[in-house]
Amino acid sequence: MDDGGFLQLTTPEVKEYDTVFPGENWFFYWRTSPSLWETKLREYQDSSPIFVPIYWGLHSEHPDQFDFGEYRPEADLKRLFTLAKSLGRELTIVLPTTPSPFLPSGGVPAYLARTIMMSEEGMGVSIVDSEGRLNKLFSFYDPRTFQSFRKFTYHLGQFITQSGFNCEVFGADFGYLSNGLYKSYFDDKSIAFEQGFNRYLKQIEITEPERIEQLKENHHLEETLKIDYAILIKNLYTDSAVEAIPANWAGVLKFAHLGGAPEDIFARTNDMWEHHGDFFKPFFNILVNDLLPSSVLLSPGLKKGVLQKALKDIVSSSLITSHLDNSLYEDDLVTSFNPLIFFNIYVGDTSQQKNLEFLLNGGGLRYYFDREYHWMYRILHSSFRYKPDFDQEEIIHFFFGSLLTLEDFNHVLRLFMNGGRVFIDIDGLDEEISKKLSVFLTENSIDTEKINFMTPIVKAQLGEGLIITYDNKKLSEVGLMKKIGFWETMIKFLKLNNLKVQIDEGLYYMWKHRSSNTYELNYEEIRRVSIYNPTSYKKKSTILSSKNYAFLKTVDEINAQVKSTPIGVDIELMPGASISLDFGYFE
């Protein structure tokens, strides 16, 4: 790497926390003097790209005035990029298309900080950042905010083109987890949203009067229309960014902020309440939701020790790269470990849909996965599109009838024909899709088996390909133990293979895997389990032996002791301990 001719006598020390590099490759250029940018970039040791979020309010202090370094050095993005290039550091621009919780006023210029965002409960949204500041977020539904955003992205696009930047520009959908599900900071129930929605209804009254008639008869339709309106406005922001920066645009990334839920404010403003162990569950949930985790809101004190270790272990450069490449499967990145995932659950872009909770938990699916396949499933907030390079053998795909579109379904059939294994909940399945499935199975003479086991089940098999249909609504009517029994039977049939982990309460663990290298040809792949003890107590864990696995080694032991026993590997973890264990998997 080019060191810019600067002689270093010692290896630069990577700091545990830095206000300019607050975590996961983020570079907050406004948090230091531009004269220190070079020093800060030199200190950065990771090989993966550095995220540079654009602080809109910094570059536009007055309406219709935009400064990218012409007037103030702290806004000089050209200098920042030139410096990074000379040091061999790769910068990636991140343009927030939602409020940014780590910025004052959510990043919008002061002249647009008018209508504070509202949560569903009618609470103004304010987020505590890593330095203990209260950042109030302002509504993106105010038409003046959108008009200004459009102008800003236009000028940013011009600046990027004129400066000759060839870096990628990603839109950022910032959000958080609430009850284990992703919510975007775009979601807002403020007066600005309500006024915008009323304008939308008036527009619909002209273009689709029949929908307004339906609304008069069915008030629940209003919720659906509100979702449609929210998606429409969100897309307007993204589209204006794409239009302004077409050559560099690389897509939208979803980031979930630890400690960023509006209701977290009460815990985060009380020192006696907040503990670093509280962030493990949301952190792992973020990974399960296939989002990029961000710890930039957490104070240095909270990120010390075992949480910091977990963030470094898991939010590796390969995880970030896989999101930047927009590749659903990380398995291509053979040299590094990636989360071991057995199940994909597709929920579409339904962050605002209230029945998601029922779909995931009504039939006990998520409860079962949380119990038996902790952090080994993924909830995907996107439509399903089959790609020929899918590694379909390992992953089992779950679809809900009420969310499945005909286009999604066509891709599901392609997946099945290519050996994919699929579960479809038929509750709410469109009649046309249902008919298409029946015709498809009949026309292709595919063997089907019908069983009644708590719910009517249809099993269709073609080579490796498998489709199992069931009724989530029917399943929701039986007791929890029966639901677990149902999923246990279904999943057992799929013959998934992984080591069992017995673990004390309060410990967290995550499985990762990678392909074996030339020195490990006895094994198909290497699986690594990382275990963390964020509690103040000594804890124990056991990994049970299995005939297809060989214990290879321990990695990064911190205050942990390992002992092999006839039944497996026993681990003792002191408070704040962490450890990883590698196992070779062979057929």
Binding site: M118, G124, S126, V128, L134, F266, N270, M272
Partner: protein
């Protein structure tokens, strides 16, 4: 052992429709906590059972009037021996939020903008407040 924890209740006034299409309104607790954590659902449920309308299945704590919510707050204070509870509506919370810019001023919102209800028993009787209140 601390027995001087102040409780905070944040509530929302909700106007809605019942299944028959009639307009209804109620007060709903949206957050209930003290400086060491949220009040457990076990404690809430135990006290709320005396207020729960017949046939209600939801876990939400809903009240037909502010007076009823106030009585519930006193009962919670008695249950956990807290000396005082601050009741604050989401609307007043937003007024308070508007005027604060840092954590210190945020912490004062409930005290400054809320209604204080004191425990008539004084709140020092039971000793195991942590065990009763928090997980």
């Amino acid at each position: 052992m601390r027995n001087n924890l102040h409780l905070n209740i944040l509530y929302q006034f909700v106007e809605s429709e019942d299944s028959a299409g009639n307009n209804i309104s109620f007060y709903k607790i949206i957050h209930f906590f003290s400086e060491v954590g949220v009040v457990t659902t076990t404690t809430l449920k135990k006290v709320y059972d005396n207020y729960r309308p017949p046939g209600a299945v939801s876990d939400d704590c809903l009240f037909s009037s502010l007076d009823q919510l106030g009585h519930f707050a006193i009962d919670i204070c008695k249950e956990v021996s807290a000396p005082e509870v601050f009741l604050l509506s989401a609307q007043d919370y937003n007024i308070g939020l508007d005027s604060c810019n840092d954590i210190r001023s945020f912490k004062e919102i409930f005290r400054r903008y809320g209604t204080s209800i004191e425990n008539p028993d004084g709140g020092h009787r039971k000793k195991n407040i942590f065990g009763k209140l928090f997980n």
